[in-house]
Amino acid sequence: MPRIAKPLVFAACLLPALHLAAGAFQLGGLSLGTDPVKLMLHTCGRWTLNFLLITLCMTPLRNITHGVDWLRYRRMFGLFAFFYALLHFSVFLLLDQAGKLHAVGHEIVKRPYITLGMLALLLLVPLALTSTAKAQRRLGRRWTRLHQLIYPVALLGVWHFWWQVKKDIREPILYACGLALLLGYRLWKRHQSTAPVSVARFARTDGA
């Protein structure tokens, strides 16, 4: 993999945010349309989900393709999921709710779909904080356990999306299917690997 690949991927991940920013400042003939706040909310929300799913693709891709080192990109994608989730929440707080904290608090408590989204964002925080190589080393096996939080986060995120759609649920269904596939793959893998392992262990104790 050429050395330039990673910076290129990084720049590509920033494109949705840059596109929104250009629209907000009406650069290059871009605009955010009639309902700019909603467009920003939905764009950031969608990219949060996209990056969560992309992050979850890395392990299966590694297993399937062997050759390419997909895990080199996993942390970056995960952090971009957090970045877009934070942007999503900031647009909600500062633009949609005009920075009125009590109104936001009220909405978070009262609207179940917002409660789910908020919970997902909060669960992402420890993952972002422990995303460094140092933290990974220090936490050891606990790091892996902790970062399995991405599974509930992705579930909450898709649920949050599904729940706020008025009627046309085709898009949330698409995300739900993608997530089901990725989680299903892990369950299948675990089933595959645990079954022989436990038999082997059993055999070993039996033989001892």
Binding site: A24, L32, G33, T34, D35, P36, V37, K38, L94, L95, D96, Q97, A98, E107, K110, R111, P112, Y113, W163, Q164, K166, K167, D168
Partner: protein
């Protein structure tokens, strides 16, 4: 919200439209001379401020109804014609502007039936001919908690309905949108039950604020906004404003309505704008007003969308939490 003080309580439709125009079926169907003569009477009795608002193709002749209009600046023509909820042409707000251009609004027929003396199929020309057009700048509040201000061109719904002489059994009026999946690609998906149906109680329908709109910004209604004729009931959520109407039926029982059928716990028959009754999933206490600044778009939602002084009495004694 600034709004012209409004003597509407004392205005009844017959003040606006001469009695002569409430036509029987005979004159409605007569066409030609008869209609022209009646229209001449109408013209003569119209206020002197008649004017043509827009120029070029599709320009309509109308008068401005200041008493029924907001003083607020309307949203841009672009906003109003590119941000539409019109699931017959797709569920995205930008879909209708793209997909509705092929809709043929000529010829167009409207079937009138049910509890009325005058029933049958009428051409849109027969439907519209006797009605002088007015401009009314109304607030539009979507159930999704956004709002716009729209300069509609139309005429009082009550004036139209009276021409069909509803009988004493007519307690409600039902409206139906065209069903034609070839022209309306959204109808090929089952996101809603087609055709779209809506309804009003007769006293709501006869209220002078309820109009049939045929234009906006002085021009013929673009297809994505409901051409050739759509309903506007400004104190109700936008989904009551059924578009591309092909059927009007007077009924004794409350008609079924599309969104109430789709999610009865979320959308009711009345659908009056009410900041005190939330949508089960989101708040209706405030709304994002479109077309303004990125930072200060949220404003409080008003009971009956700000038309409470005119319409609240229609619902006196009703539990609006129950009849949402």
């Amino acid at each position: 919200m600034r709004r012209a003080r409004n003597p509407s309580r004392t205005i009844v439709p017959s003040d606006i439209t001469p009695q002569a125009r409430y036509m029987s079926r005979r004159s409605l169907l007569a066409g030609g001379l008869g209609l022209a003569a009646l229209q001449a009477i109408g013209r003569f009795s119209r206020p002197a401020m008649a004017e043509t608002g827009a120029e070029g193709p599709g320009a309509l002749t109308f008068t401005r109804n200041a008493a029924f209009s907001l003083t607020e600046t309307p949203n841009s023509y672009r906003d109003i014609t590119t941000y539409n909820n019109y699931y017959e042409f797709g569920t995205d707000k930008a879909d209708p502007a793209e997909n509705a251009q092929g809709l043929r609004t000529k010829p167009w027929n409207v079937t009138v039936g049910g509890e009325a003396e005058v029933t049958g199929s009428f051409t849109i020309e027969d439907i519209l001919k006797p009605h002088p057009l007015e401009e009314r700048v109304y607030r539009l509040r979507c159930v999704e908690a956004w709002s716009m201000v729209v300069p509609w061109i139309g005429f009082p719904l009550g004036d139209l309905l009276k021409r069909f002489k509803p009988t004493s059994k007519a307690k409600f009026v039902e409206f139906k949108t065209l069903y034609d999946p070839k022209q309306m690609p959204g109808q090929r998906s089952s996101v809603l039950e087609w055709p779209y149906v809506e309804g009003l109680r007769m006293d709501e329908a006869m209220h002078p604020l309820a109009i049939m709109a045929v234009g906006l910004y002085g021009k013929v209604l673009p297809n994505q906004d409901g051409a050739p004729m759509r309903l506007i009931v400004p104190w109700k959520y936008g989904f009551k404003g059924i578009k591309a109407i092909v059927g009007i039926k007077f009924t004794e029982r409350m008609p079924r309505t599309t969104w109430a059928l789709a999610a009865p716990n979320e959308y009711g028959f009345y659908a009056n704008v009410n900041p005190a009754v939330d949508h089960p999933r989101w708040s209706q206490a405030s709304e994002r007003h479109l077309g303004g600044s990125l930072f200060n778009s949220r404003r409080p939602t008003l009971p009956f969308n700000g038309y409470g002084a005119e319409v609240a009495e229609l619902y006196s004694g009703m539990d609006l939490r129950r009849y949402f």
